[in-house]
Symmetry: C2
Subunit: 180 residues, 2 copies
């Protein structure tokens, strides 16, 4: 059985700085029509930087959408045509000042595919050399270093709430323990 | 240091069936202004149903936003004022026909807090009794049952791509193995 939904009409609602919004009228398998509200996003990368002492480098950042300061792995949006690996190297340097000897792809996922096309590519960074950060003009970021076991407790306890950070840490742990 | 961003102006762009879009003009810590594009979503639940034989019940569903059929845990949006636990019981029954003897909260997270307030509450469901599904009119869903180890391989191999499903399975594994 094919589930595909054919686009019968597209209405563009908004074209902004980081996202676009459109409404597709689709034909369902039973030939009836329905509407799909779709947010378009360029995609992003997240980096799990692991030090020689099994510490993880995280950033603390205020997120207006949820009105909270969140702990997150370093991350950033893909520029047009940019390879995820290059974006990961660039964003890690910009947000934390770190240059990694080894940057390895571990996983990719859709943040919320029910209404948004955003895909995040995750990397593990090792062999870290610290330097000076250079965040964007409207980014206020605190860089912190925490033991990986402490970060796992923060996930268990609901202190870490960001999807890419939870997936990045849990997948990095699987890679480090040879389960992936 | 306080990172908070004060809202100076709010512009409502769109008010739809499942999401709203607004643009906030915010004051940054250095007193400069910036714009934040924010998608408002009612929030959702995801349920990891585990059978007596260590199988996971997943649903296969076409997702227009990413133009793909995805494997996901059963899930659904919160209704206004609805408790996540009640929503989990309702959505599990609607999507799969299953009634669970035991429904336990395991985790919560923001799907993409850089621009969206959507929070997902995750539950593990055990003691499953199968019945007849009753999905929404515009939902076309296939229910599948897979060994939890097979599902972990599908996460490793990038076959499972949905954030709530990856987090739900990895957190359920931690709960089952006593690491949470």
């Amino acid at each position: 059985m094919s589930f595909e939904e054919k686009t019968m009409k597209t209405e563009k609602i908004y074209d902004g700085k980081i996202l676009k919004l459109r409404i597709d009228t689709v034909e369902l398998p039973d030939k009836k029509y329905s509407k799909r509200e779709i947010v378009e996003h360029p995609g992003a990368v997240g980096i799990v930087p692991i030090t020689e002492n099994n510490e993880v480098v995280l950033v603390k950042q205020y997120r207006k959408a949820v009105e909270k300061v969140l702990y997150e792995i370093p991350a950033g949006k893909l520029e047009i045509g940019e390879e995820p690996l290059n974006c990961a190297v660039r964003e890690l340097k910009e947000e934390t000042g770190i240059i990694a000897d080894k940057m390895e792809f571990i996983s990719e996922f859709y943040t919320t595919p029910g209404f948004c096309d955003e895909k995040i590519y995750l990397f593990i960074a090792q062999g870290l050399e610290e330097g000076k950060a250079n965040p964007d003009n409207d980014e206020y970021i605190d860089v912190v270093k925490l033991k990986i076991n402490e970060v796992l407790s923060m996930i268990n306890d609901g202190v870490i709430l960001d999807s890419k950070t939870i997936i990045g840490i849990l997948m990095a742990k699987r890679v480090l323990e040879g389960e992936k």
